[in-house]
């Protein structure tokens, strides 16, 4: 019996040696949202460059910020949304890179070059852009599916079958929009109304989670869920929820823009820059959108040959001009604190 144990110890030691050998190779530590990184593109990057990519995942901008703030320094690329890019730049959490000098930078749509959150284009390259709203499984649903009312004050047919994102950054802006209050609100009176609305919604909610909605929609565990446009489309096409409708509420919809950035102290900065350039290649940029089903921030004519034509016609992405799109901005510390407190109360 002890020889068995010895053998096992031997195997483990061998595994340890083997893996320390692989540590010597070129690496890139990528920290991205769940289900947001196309596997085959990573494999292609690995074969082209010989750089091994380690992927870890997170569920929200807040989690990313918390992880970086608590000293997780090993990441080379992370993928925050625009309002968190601003925070990270002001907190000195990002490395500069020569982005304008990268060979594929020319592929970026002129509208998204030197964007407001990175006016000198020293920190970010664009990854994906989209909107935040909610989806309804129309199978058996009775309602117009055109208002945030159906999400915050749902009718009986879907009560108890609602999933809501777990992060204030994604839910409170929609609530403010529904109540007709301004975004980045610092007014406690308005925030009290938001809190009351969310608490009133809670009895109808089954799950607060930003990751399990695809599985829960697919199994029928939930019928209405917080969603992003591309993820909703992916659920409809890939996961067989054919009646899923991504709602463009008449009160408005939240727009977002995710970028690749290099956090301070990244151990493989040169590899991170290679990766950034790789992701701005027209064909690769198109594959990202083909996988994620979000709109590409690359120039439409450059990617035209590679992009799935279905994507341009998808109902999720094409928003009627009557629906106001509010681009989420970086709020003051005061309103962030208010948001967090409201949210903590709601989640209790």
């Amino acid at each position: 019996m002890f020889t068995n144990v010895k053998k096992k110890a031997g195997i483990i030691a061998a595994a340890a040696l083997f893996s320390s050998a692989t540590f010597a190779a070129e690496e890139l530590n990528l920290y991205n949202w769940v289900d947001y990184t196309p596997d085959d593109l990573i494999a292609q990057f690995e074969t082209e460059t010989g750089i091994k990519v380690n992927l870890d995942t997170y569920d929200s901008n807040e989690t990313l910020l918390a992880k970086l703030k608590s000293g997780a320094t090993g990441y080379d690329i992370v993928v925050p949304s625009q309002n968190f890019v601003t925070i990270m730049i002001s907190e000195g959490m990002l490395e500069k890179a020569n982005i304008k000098g990268m060979s594929n930078y020319k592929n970026v749509d002129k509208r998204w070059q030197s964007p407001p959150w990175d006016p000198t284009q020293e920190y970010t390259i664009p990854y994906q852009m989209g909107t935040t709203s909610f989806s309804i499984n129309m199978d058996g649903y009775d309602g117009p599916a055109n208002s945030l009312k159906e999400f915050f004050e749902p009718n009986d047919s879907v009560s108890g079958k609602i999933q809501v994102f777990r992060t204030p950054d994604e839910v409170i802006p929609l609530a403010l929009m529904y109540l007709g209050h301004e975004q980045c609100n610092e007014n406690p009176k308005d925030m009290k109304e938001v809190q009351a609305l969310l608490l009133k919604q809670k009895p109808h909610v089954k799950v607060y989670n930003s990751e399990t909605m695809v599985a829960n929609l697919a199994s029928g565990e939930i019928m209405v869920s917080s969603q992003w446009d591309g993820y909703s489309m992916k659920t409809r096409l890939r996961d067989g929820v054919t009646q899923l409708k991504y709602v463009h509420p008449k009160e408005g919809i939240i727009g977002w823009f995710d970028s690749l950035v290099i956090p301070k102290g990244a151990p493989n900065k040169a590899n991170a820059e290679k990766f950034m350039n790789f992701m701005m290649d027209a064909k690769n940029g198109a594959s990202i959108s083909n996988f994620n089903r979000y709109a590409s921030p690359l120039d439409a004519t450059a990617i035209a040959a590679f992009i799935d034509p279905e994507l341009g016609k998808a109902p999720e992405i094409n928003i009627d001009s009557s629906v106001p799109v509010h681009f989420s901005e970086t709020c003051s510390g005061k309103s962030i604190k208010l948001y967090d407190r409201v949210w903590t109360k709601v989640l209790l």
Binding site: S19, D56, A72, G74, A218, S219
Partner: protein
């Protein structure tokens, strides 16, 4: 775990209540039913995890050809191996001292060593995280290993101490009479006798480390995803037979180790293991 309990077979056949047998049967079904379902559906061909179609091992092939899972397994093995070796070494040294006579502060030392058993995992996790942040200790595989060594020490310590308590001291005395110095007595007499205890302790430490989730979750950094963290990531995306396959393997690893531990400790007559 309690393996030493005296075997008074006089208890048999006394105080018997007929429905107890059925109760116990139902209990074991409850205990193993979910695991059986988990294992059964890992061999299901269907992508929808809970609808049986036909037997297939494709999820195992798929899971273990997945590079991310391979990395996670390697990470888990490195963490568990290093943590086990360090924790077992430290625990053995401490047990050798603490088993010898009484001294002032002994209870305090015992208390400190068993502290990781008492503190809830979540408290350990967030405390360790804040501490690492405060001293600028980079989060990564090393931070996980350090955290694991801490909570593995008491698990390695218990069986070793129990073994020492039941050990026959006459051999050591004989050794000393033959003018062997202390280190020779330790090396040639004490350690060989202690071996089963050390193995048992090492196995416990290894199991605890390889299964740990919440502490690893909080102190993990870049490229340090261990197998339980990876499984958690998969569960967050919903039920899938691939999770069943990976879980089955992890279950079998734990099962083998527990069984090994059990048989080793059964040889440790006269010692007392609780847990």
């Amino acid at each position: 775990m309690a393996s030493n309990i005296g075997r008074s077979s006089s208890n048999t056949n006394k105080g018997r209540i007929p429905w107890l047998k059925w109760w116990a049967c139902i209990f074991f079904v409850y205990l193993y039913g979910p695991i059986a379902v988990l294992i059964a559906f890992s061999f299901n061909d269907n992508r929808i995890a809970q609808v049986w179609t036909e037997f297939s091992t494709k999820w195992y092939v798929k899971a273990f050809s997945n590079e991310a899972i391979q990395n996670a397994i390697i990470n888990s093995l490195i963490v568990a191996a290093v943590a086990t070796v360090c924790a077992t070494l430290f625990a053995t040294m401490a047990a050798l001292i603490l088993s010898k006579g009484m001294f002032k502060g002994q209870t305090l030392c015992l208390g400190i060593i068993s502290l990781p058993l008492l503190v809830p995992e979540i408290a350990t996790a967030v405390a360790t995280l804040s501490f690492f942040a405060a001293i600028n200790f980079p989060l990564g595989l090393t931070s996980i290993i350090v955290a694991h060594i801490v909570f593995c020490i008491p698990f390695a310590f218990m069986p070793i101490r129990a073994r020492l308590a039941g050990m026959d001291e006459t051999l050591q005395e004989a050794g000393r009479d033959l003018y062997a110095n202390d280190i020779k007595v330790l090396w040639h007499i004490v350690l060989p006798q202690l071996k089963p205890g050390i193995f048992a302790g090492g196995i416990l430490a290894f199991i605890i480390s390889i299964d740990d989730f919440i502490i690893s979750l909080m102190v993990a950094g870049a490229g340090a995803t261990t197998l339980p963290l990876y499984i958690y990531g998969m569960i967050r995306l919903g039920v899938s037979p691939e999770i069943n396959a990976v879980s089955t393997v992890l279950f079998l690893v734990s099962l083998t180790l527990v069984a090994t531990y059990w048989f080793i400790s059964k040889k440790n007559e006269g010692s007392n293991y609780v847990h």
